[in-house]
């Protein structure tokens, strides 16, 4: 992946050999990684993957993944994008208003959704154990900062939680479908996920199938 912009000639490019800043190499490394499944068998590791492109639609694609998992039918991106634009909740220039987005989800025929500020990771595990899909809001800088040199106070990001477990020593491990990356069920250590989630006041969008998933 290579982008050229008019005004950023001094930035690192994908072809200048800057270690760790090659998108193709990153994707190749991720594809070699084994998907992981954490937690009980009824957690959500079979959630279909839908990735985002350049558009700020991580939340829309996350909603698409959640509905696809809950109903077995891919609703397509426009099922969320069109009403969100109409309601002023999504703009291709700015992104999505997380606070209002559950309104769009609750207009979908097969699902219902609720936005909460969770009390802690146990809430994620309980929802997954219950067969619900969980979309978590994370701070992008905190979520990616140990892998790339980014700018703090960045925008947020949405990921679909596909697994959660707590080890006997209390440590949490998670698995996510990150719309930024093609590989599903990526393992995310609690030390990485929890501070990034905390920065969004533990934003948690729970998506359930109507009449049972």
């Amino acid at each position: 992946m290579r982008d050229t912009y008019e005004t950023d000639q001094t930035e690192a490019s994908a072809s200048d050999g800057a270690k760790g800043y090659d998108r193709a190499a990153l994707e190749a490394t991720i594809k070699q990684a084994e998907p992981v499944k954490f937690g009980a068998a009824d957690q959500m590791a079979d959630t279909p993957m839908h990735t985002q492109g350049d558009a700020p639609d991580c939340l829309l694609q996350s909603a698409r993944m959640a509905e696809h998992r809950q109903t077995g039918i891919d609703p397509g991106l426009e099922a969320f994008k069109d009403p969100a634009i109409e309601k002023g909740i999504y703009s291709p220039d700015k992104g999505t208003d997380l606070q209002s987005f559950s309104d769009v989800l609750n207009e979908r025929p097969g699902i219902e959704a609720r936005l909460d500020n969770a009390s802690g990771p146990q809430d994620i595990k309980s929802a997954l154990d219950n067969g619900d899909s969980v979309i978590a809001g994370v701070d992008s800088y905190e979520f990616y900062k140990d892998h790339y040199n980014l700018e703090p106070n960045s925008g947020g990001h949405a990921v679909v939680m596909t697994g959660a477990e707590q080890a006997p020593d209390g440590h949490w491990n998670f698995a996510v479908n990150d719309p930024n990356l093609e590989q599903p069920n990526l393992a995310v250590d609690g030390d990485r996920f929890l501070p990034a989630w905390e920065k969004t006041d533990r934003a948690m969008l729970t998506v359930s199938g109507k009449g049972g998933a």
Partner: protein, 170 residues
């Protein structure tokens, strides 16, 4: 006051008020003196991580905050292209060259220097001001991608002129 936390708080408030989206990022602040009071001005812009990069777009709003109360005193939408234009992406060359720990340390040090630099800009000179201003300027330049320079300067050119002078004066 923790200037880094203040930025997070302002961004959160803007999101709650529907003035910022999930993907909105907030700049570091630029101080300004208005009727004897210190204000901090921020830019809001789409800041989207697309590993291994982070794309930054044209700022769409300026938010001004009373310091140190943290109260938003002004919000001004800014004109943008249609569609909004990508200005560039992190990491710029200087950022990519630094080891990760050093990069994160540069940001921490920058934010730690903010209160003293704001105080000095407000006219409260202290011993060691020149060294602090010089280090602040060095870190600000290091962490700022070149394509955002004109946007920061436009917020308050007086601050950047002062910073240059303050870091040179013996």
């Amino acid at each position: 006051m923790d200037v880094k936390q203040l930025g997070e708080q302002i961004l959160d408030e803007c999101r709650q008020q529907g003035r910022a989206a999930l993907e909105t990022g907030i700049s570091r602040p630029v101080p300004q003196i208005v009727d004897g009071r210190v204000h901090l001005a921020y830019l809001l812009y789409r800041s989207q991580v697309q590993p291994p990069y982070q794309k930054l777009y044209e700022p769409f709003a300026r938010v001004v905050v009373d310091y140190p109360s943290g109260e938003i005193v002004d919000y001004q939408p800014l004109p943008t292209s249609d569609p909004v234009k990508v200005l560039g992406r992190y990491p710029h060359a200087a950022a990519a060259a630094l080891p990760r720990v050093q990069w994160q340390g540069a940001w921490e040090e920058l934010y730690q220097l903010y209160p003293d630099v704001i105080d000095a800009f407000a006219g409260h000179a202290k011993p060691g001001q020149r060294q602090q201003a010089a280090r602040f300027r060095e870190l600000f330049d290091l962490t700022m991608p070149p394509f955002l320079g004109a946007y920061y300067r436009a917020i308050n050119p007086t601050f950047f002129d002062w910073l240059q002078q303050a870091s040179l004066l013996a």
